[in-house]
């Protein structure tokens, strides 16, 4: 095993996660300075040789997404011109994947553009770029290069087993919308517990109107499972609905906690007991404002994926097991 030929570079999106991944692998982060010129153009200066190395670029699609995306693209291009052997983009949260969900009636071009958009940047990096991200992804067929879409599910199962009291007998997995039913049933089956679903009528984007609960949560702890929590309108309305139907406590476990706008305020005011997010997106300052936030650390999963990719081992172990 030649660990010293893995090079991990981080952009400015989530350097803490990159540091955790590197530490997990027993490496130091690669020397790179990513900053902006005074006219707002991005500048990338690489401080070590990447010739014939296996380069992993850790950049999450969060915060100022366009800036972070440009940083990543310029780093990929730089490594390519510096003769790296293979370049892998590790993107815990993949940007512009959500626009796929928009309905086609309005702005017909916009509905599919995110898919094309995504394939375009991948083409720029040529076929040495592998995107690794958790939970939410556009269809792998969009890319003409290998994509490893890791799942946060094993980590979620681990969290439920470790932190939800009496999870085996007194809890129900709830999906806050019909689209996430598959995700929720998968978790419920693995844990061997019941399952419920909330069906919502949505009039406008980011605005939810009415929620209908299908299933029974009376006297049990309801665990909402979702892939993304942005403004948290869905989550808070779902929590209220569950409490109205007799749930004893409401947990929310979300893969990507974007938590923008009034999300923290909404969470604090809602009947949610705890909101658990992974650290694909930095949220340390948010935890100060919202004591209900908890973290699942997925740096172990990502580090394992990097190690296995580098060594040519199977990554599918990670689809069902969370590294300790």
């Amino acid at each position: 095993m030649s660990t010293n030929s893995i090079k991990i570079f981080s952009g400015n999106a989530h350097p803490d996660l990159a540091y955790l991944i590197a530490r997990r692998l027993g490496l130091d982060l690669g020397k790179v300075v990513v900053s902006k010129y005074s006219n707002q153009e991005t500048s990338v200066t690489i401080g070590e040789s990447v010739r014939d190395e296996d380069v992993f670029l850790v950049q999450s699609g969060c915060g100022e997404i366009n800036d972070n995306l440009m940083e990543l693209l310029i780093m990929i291009n730089a490594c390519k011109t510096a003769s790296a052997r293979r370049i892998t983009a590790v993107m815990p949260c993949f940007p512009y994947a959500r626009q796929d969900k928009k309905d086609n009636s309005q702005g017909r071009a916009a509905a599919r553009l995110s898919t094309m958009r995504v394939s375009l940047w991948v083409r720029v990096g040529h076929d040495h770029v592998v995107a690794v991200q958790l939970g939410l992804a556009p269809h792998p067929g969009v890319f003409n290069i290998p994509v490893d879409n890791l799942y946060a599910e094993p980590s979620v199962l681990k969290y439920i087993r470790d932190h939800v009291p009496n999870w085996a007998t007194d809890s129900v997995i709830v999906s806050p919308d019909a689209g996430g039913a598959k995700r929720a049933t998968s978790i419920a089956d693995r844990l061997g517990i019941d399952f419920a679903i909330i069906h919502k009528e949505r009039k406008k984007a980011n605005e939810v109107s009415r929620m209908v609960l299908v299933g029974d949560v009376k006297g049990k702890a309801a665990i909402l499972v979702d892939d993304m929590a942005d403004t948290c309108g869905t989550l808070c309305l779902a929590a209220k609905t569950l409490v109205d139907h007799g749930a004893s406590a409401v947990y929310a476990i979300v893969t990507h906690g974007i938590l923008s706008g009034k999300a923290l305020q909404a969470i604090n005011d809602s009947p949610l007991t705890q909101v658990v997010v992974t650290n694909t997106i930095p949220h340390d300052e948010k935890k100060v404002k919202c004591p209900k936030l908890a973290t699942i650390d997925i740096s172990a999963t990502l580090a394992e994926a990097i190690r296995r990719t580098h060594n040519g081992e199977s990554v599918s172990y990670l689809f069902t097991h969370a590294p300790e």
């Binding site: 200066t45 915060g63 693209l73």
Partner: protein
């Protein structure tokens, strides 16, 4: 003085009415009095004509320019909704149908460049999916057109003001203190030649024979490293450091990393070209590209328009006693541009040159400007460092008045303050970058509303769009042969 055009005959301009109203966005030009026939046509408002199959969409970087171009073409800008989601993702909705149309998307690489670039790419992609016949990206200021060799210039002048952590990180990466702008004046940073001639003053390892009281012997390893350092191609003083505090101790056996490694800054030229082509653009129109050879990075046609005709017009119309003025290039790189203008107008020419023969490089004037009006010509004014320092040199050498005529006035950071403090009388920029805020800021900083003047490039861009759409020659806009009386 009459302008004649090398093209067979000036094709009839847009159906011109007899009105000679200047375009609303321009306040720099007085109404021409008939001397400049074809250029006149560029500044008059035409009667409305229909343009079939043509849609002009504007990005959010410069909506005023889009409006000006559309007004010249007598169409209204295409309907597109540009917003951002709450998680900062860009959202583009093209409201009207572009099926089978020629789409021109106007987006300048100014403001928050990455956001505008993403927006442009998404708009191109959206039009491609919506079955547009041909998509042209109009980028008056091309983003990432300057490709610097390093995060700092050789004289230590920073291209940007890096944060302290970034400076510290760069210093760690190369093992030598970085000439941070606040700690060490740029003119005092030693040139690479000097450092190699007297390495004992700059590298502690060489303390040996030369210095008294520094008993460190020059070991065999250090001697080897000195030889290696001497033979390195030195681009910056920093890369001559043979030994650093970093050593090679971090990362175990990584001998390749460490201070010996020459830092390099990524040059995203091919990346931007590939992205535009991959998004689906068929044609690029830009203006006064910093490196004209950039066009070679593209597989699609690129029209690099010149703003020179408008510069000539400005000089001839607006600068009193221009025939006795001197055209000056503020650096050696812009000499070609400045001489082209000087030759076209039959004016004298001078150049500011950075003399590196001596220990500290000094700016020297090559040419004579004593008691003359000076017009500095440059393509980009970003931090205004170059212009300000050149202006000081010119006034020291006796220039009567200094104008600066620049195509792209980015004016980032404290550029306006630097401009106001410099001996530049007036800065004339084009509106490839929105200038309304800059003019206001300069006016409040120095009390003169005409410290920054703007010349309008919308006529040239609109004419290019029209000719490309109609399949006519665009060379009209390049081949201008003046006949001077």
């Amino acid at each position: 003085m009459v302008w004649l055009f090398a093209a067979a005959s000036a094709p009839p301009p847009l159906a011109c009415s007899s009105r000679h109203d200047p375009t609303p966005t321009t306040d720099a030009f007085a109404t021409p009095n008939g001397c400049f026939h074809a250029l006149d046509a560029l500044t008059t408002t035409p009667t409305p004509t229909t343009m079939r199959d043509l849609v002009v969409l504007g990005g959010s970087s410069h909506p005023e320019l889009t409006r000006a171009i559309c007004e010249r073409l007598a169409i209204s800008p295409g309907h597109v909704k540009l917003t951002k989601f709450s998680n900062r993702e860009t959202n583009v909705e093209v409201i009207e149908s572009v099926r089978g149309m020629d789409v021109y998307i106007v987006q300048s690489g100014c403001g928050s460049v990455n956001d505008n670039l993403m927006e442009l790419l998404i708009m191109i992609s959206a039009c491609k999916i919506a079955s547009a016949r041909k998509i042209t990206a109009v980028l008056p200021l091309f983003p990432y057109s300057r490709q610097p060799d390093g995060p700092y210039k050789r004289n230590g002048m920073p291209l940007n003001r890096l944060s302290d952590e970034a400076c510290q990180k760069l210093a760690d990466m190369q093992g030598m203190p970085f000439p941070h702008v606040t700690s060490q004046p740029a003119s005092r940073s030693p040139s690479p030649t000097k450092m190699l001639e007297h390495p004992e003053r700059y590298n502690s390892v060489y303390d040996g024979e030369a210095k008294v009281g520094a008993p460190t012997p020059v070991s065999g390893v250090a001697r080897l490293q000195k030889i290696q350092a001497d033979h390195q191609i030195v681009r910056s003083p920093r890369s001559t450091s043979p030994v650093s505090a970093y050593g090679g101790s971090v990362n175990g056996g990584q001998g390749k990393a460490g201070a010996q490694y020459k830092l390099w800054t990524a040059k995203p030229g091919t990346l931007i070209a590939d992205m535009l082509v991959a998004a689906g653009a068929h044609h690029i129109i830009t203006m006064d590209m910093h490196h004209p050879q950039f066009q070679g990075f593209f597989d699609i046609p690129v029209d690099n328009l010149n703003s020179y005709p408008l510069m000539y017009k400005y000089i001839v119309e607006k600068i009193p006693d221009w025939k006795n003025a001197v055209i000056v290039s503020p650096d050696a790189g812009g000499a070609k541009r400045a001489t082209a203008i000087a030759d076209a107008l039959n004016m004298n020419f001078a150049l500011i040159h950075k003399d590196r023969r001596h220990a500290t490089s000094t700016l020297t004037l090559v040419g004579n400007v004593k008691d003359r009006v000076v017009i500095m010509i440059d393509d980009i004014a970003d931090t205004c460092h170059t212009l300000a320092r050149a202006a000081h040199v010119l006034t020291r050498n006796g220039a009567a008045k200094v104008y600066a005529l620049v195509t792209h006035g980015i004016m980032s950071g404290d550029a306006i303050d630097r401009l106001v403090r410099s001996p530049i009388d007036t800065l004339i920029v084009s509106n490839t970058v929105p200038q309304v805020e800059h003019v206001k800021a300069a006016a409040t900083a120095c009390g003169r509303a005409d410290k920054i003047k703007v010349f309008d490039v919308a006529p040239i861009l609109a004419e290019a769009v029209r000719r490309i759409h109609n399949g006519e020659s665009v060379s009209f806009l390049f081949d201008i042969v003046p006949i001077v009386n």
